[in-house]
């Protein structure tokens, strides 16, 4: 079995497993894409990172598939240096008479003794209504945006991890009857339980591996001189 499966094939698989007619295909596909959004937003939030070229306007549009912002930063010395949120930034288009931002002076990113925060060379502000991020700072460089994705890219074939199929199936079965007043409450609750059961299984995949636990433990060791 492949570790990933096409979303439409997963829906076919669910139709087959539950013995439902093919006339449910599009409804189930719709529910499956909603299930993926729900799972990616609340259960297994694998962050997605994209590099976005920065122009003089320093405004970035949210990617189409972005549901939750995580961070914005730049690659410095092979590491991600994240910018700092600053609410008092005024969006450039809101400035009158071509006023300049005082922040547009370059200070190298630094950290060290007596420095608070240590990353105050670039700032950003988010305009959620217009789905824009405004970046302030110098020099202008490409940014790395980290966010939670819907997991659905309609312009390409959507592949999903196999382990997600069980939760998608449980979600569809639950959603299908959730708002139906003719369905007995105990059945509705059972379906809800099945989904939460699958949800817990998925969430368990986010647990650190044994190796990561071991690393965390070893980090706490301090080497001392041999006496």
């Amino acid at each position: 079995m492949e570790a990933v499966i096409k979303l439409s094939d997963a829906v076919k698989q669910i139709l087959h497993e539950t013995d439902r007619p093919t006339s449910n295909f599009f409804k189930y596909l719709q529910l499956a894409s909603r299930a993926i959004l729900e799972i990616r937003t609340h259960i297994v939030t694998y962050p997605k990172q994209v590099t976005i070229p920065m122009d003089e306007k320093r405004t970035i549009s949210f990617p189409d598939d972005m549901v939750r912002f995580i961070s914005i930063g730049a690659a410095i010395d092979g590491k991600l240096w994240t910018y700092t949120y600053r609410d008092e930034i005024i969006m450039e288009e809101d400035l009158e008479g071509g006023a300049k931002h005082e922040m547009d002076t370059y200070e190298p990113p630094y950290s060290g003794a007596a420095v608070r925060g240590g990353k105050n060379t670039h700032y950003y502000k988010i305009d959620y209504d217009n789905r824009l991020i405004y970046v302030m700072g110098f020099p202008v460089q490409d940014v790395i945006l980290t966010y939670t994705s819907t997991g659905i890219d309609v312009h390409d074939t959507v592949y999903i991890p196999q382990e997600m199929v069980g939760a998608i199936k449980a979600y569809i079965m639950w959603e299908e009857i959730k708002y139906n007043p003719d369905v007995a409450d105990n059945y509705r609750h059972r379906m809800e339980y099945y989904f939460h059961q699958q949800r817990r299984l998925l969430a368990s995949l986010k647990q650190p591996t044994l190796d990561q636990w071991a690393d965390a433990l070893r980090k706490s060791y301090t080497r001392i001189y041999k006496r």
């Binding site: 979303l7 439409s8 007619p21 093919t22 006339s23 599009f26 596909l29 719709q30 659905i152 309609v154």
Partner: protein
């Protein structure tokens, strides 16, 4: 059982009802059609998969009407079922062109049009309408292509030598239902006047 054999069995049984045996083959066929449709409707109300045994395969083409809607004309009349796909069990392409189809309700087309769901798969939604199968989306690349349809057709549409499956355990029921229909109709009406212009033998 071959179609003609079933018809003859019913005609033979009908002798009890009408010793003159004046029923035209087409009249008997239409009674058997009614009887089998009734029985199948009752038997397969829950499990629609059994309809597959009554499906015949036909070839037809994808065409476009003046409203730019793509469709295929039914190659044969279909039996109505309570499913969305009705008597159109499945549609596929006669050559392996990778086209896949799935049935939707007529009003669902306007609901899903333009939604992401139509872009997430290459499967083409179709609606069985009264006289044609309507496809959703732009099938300009496939216009004129042949598609293969498995249709549940009524008994009357079978050829005499075609094998016809009576729903399991319902052989006698077919005859009983035919009798029930006949008992409600005055005998004279059952004559085929085209075949027996005098219609006075009863």
């Amino acid at each position: 059982m071959k179609k003609y054999a079933l018809r003859e069995s019913v005609q033979h049984a009908l002798l009890q009802h009408d010793k003159t045996n004046k029923y035209d083959d087409r009249v008997v066929d239409s009674f058997i059609t009614m009887a089998t449709n009734t029985i199948m409707g009752q038997l397969f109300r829950r499990d629609h998969s059994n309809y597959d045994l009554y499906a015949k395969t036909f070839d037809t083409t994808i065409e476009k009407d003046e409203s730019d809607i793509y469709y295929s004309i039914y190659p044969a009349p279909i039996v109505q079922t309570i499913e969305v796909r009705n008597g159109v069990r499945r549609i596929n392409t006669s050559k392996n062109t990778g086209l896949e189809f799935a049935p939707v309700r007529g009003d669902e087309i306007s609901l899903i049009e333009g939604l992401d769901v139509t872009m997430l798969s290459d499967i083409i939604p179709y609606v069985p309408e009264r006289d044609r199968v309507r496809y959703m989306g732009n099938l300009s690349q496939h216009e004129g292509k042949t598609v293969r349809m498995d249709l549940v057709v009524p008994f009357s549409e079978y050829e005499d030598n075609d094998e016809y499956y009576i729903p399991g355990g319902s052989d006698l029921e077919v005859i009983e239902v035919v009798f029930q229909i006949l008992q409600q109709i005055p005998l004279r009406d059952k004559l085929n006047n085209e075949r027996d212009p005098h219609g006075s033998s009863n």
